[in-house]
Symmetry: C2
Subunit: 496 residues, 2 copies
């Protein structure tokens, strides 16, 4: 192997190690850390994040890239090394634009703002969050000024999560979704009964059930965890140390779908090719692609009739309070379509409308046409407009999500893109595995996971999102129509 | 403030942040991490540990020290800045002797050996541990070669945990303890009944009880945690993020004293002066001094009659299976003296004999007069000799402790020194707080914690261990006699 490439890889492996450490600090902060640990943790994140940034944008790393790149011409485009050189070049050019102090300040202020957000959310008072939010928001806008000329500030944010995608492209997908989804909500008619989701459901029993479900999905023994948190997320410190979280409530069952959602992220990490371990190619090509898989396991598997035909009797055995509900009622209930206040509790149809709202507000925050202090009012007005619901307080409105405490603009739209991509891919899965329904009904997910791993997960970040999509299913653009067709068919079937 | 001193402090604060990150990686590994996360975690620890070492031994840090040190002459010896310059000079000179790769390799191989130790312990087979142990052992001996000339290799290890103390000094304390402790064990006669410690004691109930006890000891709300682990330890990521652990068993109560022990360490961290936050002066002057406080809260408080007069009725209310035992039986039982196999389960008398055994074996390992593969046999022979017990298998013998998986030689003796120091200090506490017993009986620990904090904990690492002892109680040497007198009195009272 080329000496420059070898040294480049060694440096990238060490950076990967430090990112693993950052990941552990974050995971601990969000699942475990006592509240008063926040200020010291913010310092640690800032210092370590600064070092990661510094090491990555190092001149010598750039020289190693320069020296190794000629090699790429001799390599197969799809080889790990050629992909590594492409991806690292792109990441390095992007990262070089940002001063280290700014990257560190973003982490530090983001960590503090997250603590302020938790406090504000508990008190349901946006004003508690505002000062810390303003600091991290201003840092983010300064960051955008360093990004590629020609991009709008929002393009710069979007590019962090959906590499290469432009705001206008998202807009064109959302322009299709917005009227169609609004129409589907109307067609769905009166919401189904889902009162059985509320009840006396001990957390330990939910935990045991979910551990069984995730094990069946295909997780390797002794290589993952599922823990409680406030705002569910998944992360991984290696292919064999995957951490998923969910938000348990002893009085309802919603943690189940949040856990299957994070399970989808976890399977994406686990399915990366082992040759990508300890490289920047481990992971997912974009958040949209990643989200397509969390939505696959949460919705396409986890709200399906075959799934609950298998698991409802088991859940009822574990939870006596759920004893009386029949399969049809349960299936209708967990697919209930009803405009609501909370994104993470939203159904498959209105979910993307929650996203469209955030996408529109974010663009206004970023171009400064909306002042931060006006955000709660703007939020509430748009919720009324788009979903027809009245927001009673900040906790059930503008403070419901963690993302803005890190000024992670551009992140939200990837959720709706993921919804669309999930069904686009699922069509191919259904064709490839004709007896998929009976496998799911048997609690058997090996072939499904294997197909997704071999077609999709194994590529990690080797290719652009659309190159990855092409390798998985032979299509070269995000197509929202299968998603809309799927929703219409489901609404029709459930209304029948 | 002097510019060099300011910059020095900034660098030390960042190193402190990185050490916090290392601490979180370790804590997670020992409480939470899935088993297969080990290899990637070992890489992360090695990379981050290497960076900490590199940053600390940096030439520029040495130049800043050189430039700031003349300032110390103008400062009060007891001032924070004068202490910082003394302590950092000592640490820097020591650290400069060790190549960065060696420090990183020690962390990496230690992490791997810890995984091997867990596996070996589960299988009760030292041979599973041996290859990984040999690697970390050889690294440790290479490390010792870089230490100050004139010191024996064992002195070098000891100095890591008990700064300034020599092997011969420990030997002289242990030469007093060994025959006296052996005599006290004989005097104690037949062991008291402690069968009530075994029973049906649900872990969640033990947890709730211990959270109440630790809260009463004086921990600040939202600034600490108590979690389950295999081998209990305490650590802190800041004065307001203290992590204690204990080893719960649903069939016995021993987790209670392990938790009070770790609670003592936690109070020591919490009691540091806030002016030492984010500096290398936060912590404890030595492991022996730190251990004196864990033993204080575990034994002098947690095995005392006044403590159980208050807490036994409460524990009995929570745990019906404990219902029938009376206070006297309970108190005798938890102070039962009986030679046994396991150090962490040992009573106050035989505990130090377990340590003397390890101290002797470690010296032989370090001077290579004992080969690693002969260690189990040597262990078993000495257990017979010193404590009169037969070791049935490696899990209950040589594999019981985590320390050797990191080749942390010199660590064990500090436990026995801590036993001696705890009573040496306690004599002064009893004189200063005449109604201490009735306070403890009232479940009231504020004055006790306050006295220890103001006299001892607040100094952190500002002074040498003996300087710290002098500031706390006006004595200038470790004196084992109060400890022996206390044990004799207790044995006499319990036998009466």
């Amino acid at each position: 192997m080329n000496g420059a490439l070898r040294e480049l890889k060694q440096r990238l492996a060490e950076i990967h190690d430090l990112e693993q450490a950052l990941g552990v600090l974050n995971w601990d902060q969000r699942t475990t850390m006592p509240a008063k640990g926040g200020p010291a943790r913010a310092e640690a994140l800032a210092t370590l994040g600064g070092i990661v940034h510094e090491r990555f944008i190092d001149d010598e790393l750039g020289r190693l890239l320069d020296r190794a790149e000629p090699l790429a011409a001799e390599l197969d485009y799809d080889s790990d090394d050629a992909s590594l050189l492409r991806v690292v070049r792109r990441d390095w050019d992007k990262a070089r634009r940002v001063p280290t102090e700014l990257a560190a300040a973003w982490l530090r202020e983001g960590s503090k703002a997250q603590a302020a957000w938790l406090e504000a959310r508990a008190a349901s008072d946006f004003r508690i969050f505002l000062p810390a939010f303003r600091r991290v928001h201003e840092i983010a806008l300064r960051w955008a000024e360093f990004q590629e000329a020609g991009d709008s500030p929002y393009d710069a944010f979007l590019d962090e999560y959906e590499p290469g995608m432009k705001t206008v492209e998202v807009q064109s997908v959302f322009d299709v979704l917005r009227p169609e989804l609004t129409a589907i909500v109307r067609e769905a008619g009166d919401p189904a009964d889902d009162s059985f989701l509320d009840g006396d459901y001990p957390v330990v029993v939910q935990q045991a059930f979910l551990e069984e479900v995730l094990t069946r999905f295909g997780f390797e023994e002794d290589a993952w965890r599922l823990d409680p948190t406030v705002h569910p997320f998944a992360t991984s410190f290696s292919r064999t140390d995957i951490r998923m979280t969910t938000r348990y409530r002893p009085d309802n069952l919603r943690a189940i779908w949040a856990a299957m959602h994070e399970g989808g992220h976890g399977l994406t990490y686990q399915g990366c090719d082992p040759s990508l371990d300890r490289t920047p190619l481990a992971g997912s090509a974009s958040l949209g692609l990643g989200e397509s898989q969390s939505r696959t396991w949460e919705n396409l598997v986890g709200r399906s009739l075959p799934f609950w035909r298998r698991f409802l009797p088991e859940l009822q055995q574990r939870l006596p309070a759920l004893g009386s509900v029949d399969l049809e009622t349960f299936h209708r209930g967990v697919n209930r379509i009803a405009p609501g206040l909370i994104r993470v509790d939203a159904d498959e149809v209105t979910y993307s409308l929650h996203i469209i709202l955030r996408f529109e507000l974010e663009q206004q925050l970023v171009d400064r046409s909306l002042a931060l202090e006006e955000l709660p009012e703007a939020w509430n007005a748009r919720m009324q407009d788009l979903l027809g619901v009245s927001v009673p307080d900040d906790a059930h409105g503008v403070l419901q999500d963690v993302h803005w405490s890190r000024a992670a603009y551009g992140y939200f739209p990837t959720y709706a893109l993921g919804n669309a991509i999930s069904v686009q891919i699922w069509q191919h899965v259904e064709r490839a595995i004709p007896d998929l329904d009976s496998q799911i009904e048997a609690g058997e997910f090996r072939e499904l996971y294997g197909w997704l791993r071999d077609r999709l997960y194994r590529h990690g970040r080797k290719f652009t999102p659309l190159e990855t999509l092409e390798r998985a299913i032979g299509e070269t653009a995000i197509d929202p129509q299968p998603y809309l067709a799927y929703l219409r068919a489901k609404v029709g079937a459930l209304a029948a």
